[in-house]
Symmetry: C2
């Protein structure tokens, strides 16, 4: 069987990307690393696949965006923002929906399509910290989201904890004392639900409110339907609620529906705030207060980082970028009068940091 | 310059697909047609591009879906349905967003990406009847929508006129006499706006209501924002309105918002019905009555037709398929009590017909 780049990487004790860098003659590789790789290549008799190499150096001017689900408004709008940012650079975006499937997510990183475009922007929903090795790929990659930290790739994420904390504190500042959280994933340590729930608990604590597990409404998928069900269960169980922090806007819109059908007034009886600031938030009845995680900036940054890796303009350490986020007050928290435009009521500062690549050896 | 398949087609007076069929040795080609093509090949010295040919016969198990805009919920949900239908057949879908750009739409049919997957499902928004020749392509193609009729391709469309007529008649049957239409495109002869407006006028006529141009609210793009603006203009101009037929659900949700901010009750003062039956319609406040155009069936049929052309299981005349559509009554027309599930209040029968290929010679 042919010796693969993986075999060389394993013998040399370096990442596949390092092997790829040596093979492709990139500068900025430490001499010792280069020697180890070259020794492994000689020892194993690895032959560079020239066809694959020529395919790689021939630009397609296309990039791939892989997201879990386009029928979730956040991802549809993110895709739109990525397409616009790419378009401004003359790039076409091919979109792949991975559904809620681990196999499809692995396929995005390792399948035969991976070299069909110049690079990949990938928002995983199933892969997690245990899958870091899969992210050590030989093509330009930018990771989105909060499931995977420390992969050898540039990463654009959100101010999840700080923004969720601020949203909860905003409800508390309005005098709300029984603040439910809709969309919790019990026992989950990784991902948006865990981080935003942490922020919720920090917000309660900062506001001097007790944490009451009865106020956590679980919802596996974050759709309108599951939000309506979760909110309905809470109300039908007789739990007293005067505020709702929904972990995304689809859940919040479902919660609004459940409150409406039970003739509870928003924001009179219950103040509601969501997360994502999707277009719908401006037009729901009442309009929905939400966390704007900086979607447009996320998309633009992801495309910029990817293009810099594709062109080789950037060969330095991987970066993690967190855009500023904002709490946008609308009718559902009474921050604006009926018919009023939404307005920012709090800002959470983002930032840029160097990725501490976990587990595997750092790329040269 | 190298002789192309286009040159051969032009000289032989046949479609590119016919040349492709001859070159690839498909049966079912009339002897006279084959001779004309072979004469043109000999005369022009056309050389089959073997590389391209081998690429074409090597399946990728991927198909492309090209839609105008993923942030429009209808297209996001359509994409989701296409992905599910394709997934059931082991196919991966790559999605391209064409935006509102003619250049991008032409590129989808003629650009370098066209042979990257096994076939294309394409919903054009800019191309129209004058562009039929562009649809004469040498790869499997299924056309969606109502901009292009008579292209040499299978076509899945909607019951636009009949469904719009039924929606308007439904409002009239509720006693509504001043029925506005939101989303009109004045002067446009082609596409959803023209067809649905025709259905609206037929519905008025069938109900014995006069057509009043003052009740037509124009909106170029069909988003929530434009729906809210169009509805707001109508109301602020003092036009008397007791019913609204919005040409899609995003417009309808915007119209609901505009009515709400002007303290008009839905369905008390005004009954509202949309078109598309997006997920949001079940959760808006009030829930939105709508036309279900048979989205899931559209997606499944499109994938089935495409797969049949890819595998060669179908080589006969092109077909046009129109799924059944349904008017779904919800709170916004008072068809269900508050909190009640939507229910079909009218059905429009679809059907299958043979495409009469326009202009160009029929494929062999």
């Amino acid at each position: 069987m042919a010796v693969t780049m993986q075999d060389v990487a394993a013998r040399a004790g370096v990442s596949i990307k390092t092997v790829s860098n040596v093979v492709n003659g990139y500068p900025h590789i430490r001499a010792a690393t280069r020697e180890r790789v070259e020794e492994a290549i000689d020892h194993l008799g690895y032959r560079i696949n020239e066809t694959a190499r020529s395919l790689r150096t021939r630009r397609t001017d296309m990039i791939t965006l892989a997201v879990p689900e386009l029928s979730l408004p956040y991802f549809a709008e993110l895709a739109d923002s990525v397409i616009q940012a790419a378009d401004a650079r003359g790039l076409t975006v091919l979109i792949e929906q991975t559904g809620h499937g681990r196999v499809r997510e692995v396929d995005v990183l390792t399948g035969k399509r991976r070299n069909m475009t110049d690079g990949l922007i990938f928002s995983p929903l199933e892969l997690g910290p245990e899958d870091l090795a899969l992210f050590d790929v030989d093509f330009p990659l930018v990771v989105l989201g909060e499931r995977v930290f420390g992969a050898p790739a540039d990463h654009v994420t959100m101010n999840n904890v700080a923004a969720a904390k601020a949203a909860t504190m905003h409800l508390a500042a309005l005098g709300r004392k029984r603040i439910a959280v809709v969309g919790g994933h019990e026992g989950e340590q990784v991902g948006s639900a865990a981080l935003r729930t942490t922020g919720y608990r920090q917000g309660l604590e900062a506001a001097g409110l007790p944490y009451d597990p009865a106020l956590v409404a679980e919802a596996g998928l974050w759709h309108r339907s599951t939000g309506a069900e979760a909110m309905g269960r809470l109300l039908d169980d007789g739990v007293e609620v005067d505020g709702v922090f929904a972990l995304n806007d689809a859940l919040a819109l479902g919660a609004l529906h459940a409150l409406h059908t039970r003739r509870m007034e928003v924001p009179g009886d219950v103040s509601v705030i969501g997360f994502d600031d999707i277009d719908d938030a401006r037009y729901s009845v009442p309009t929905l207060s939400s966390v704007d995680p900086g979607r447009v900036q996320i998309a633009q940054t992801a495309v910029e980082l990817l293009v810099a890796r594709i062109t080789g303009a950037e060969t330095g350490p991987y970066r993690r970028v967190i855009p500023d986020s904002r709490i946008i007050g609308r009718e559902s928290t009474g921050d604006v009068p009926e018919g009023g435009e939404g307005r920012p009521v709090a800002v959470q500062q983002g930032g840029i940091e160097q990725v501490a690549v976990a587990a595997a050896p750092a790329p040269a």
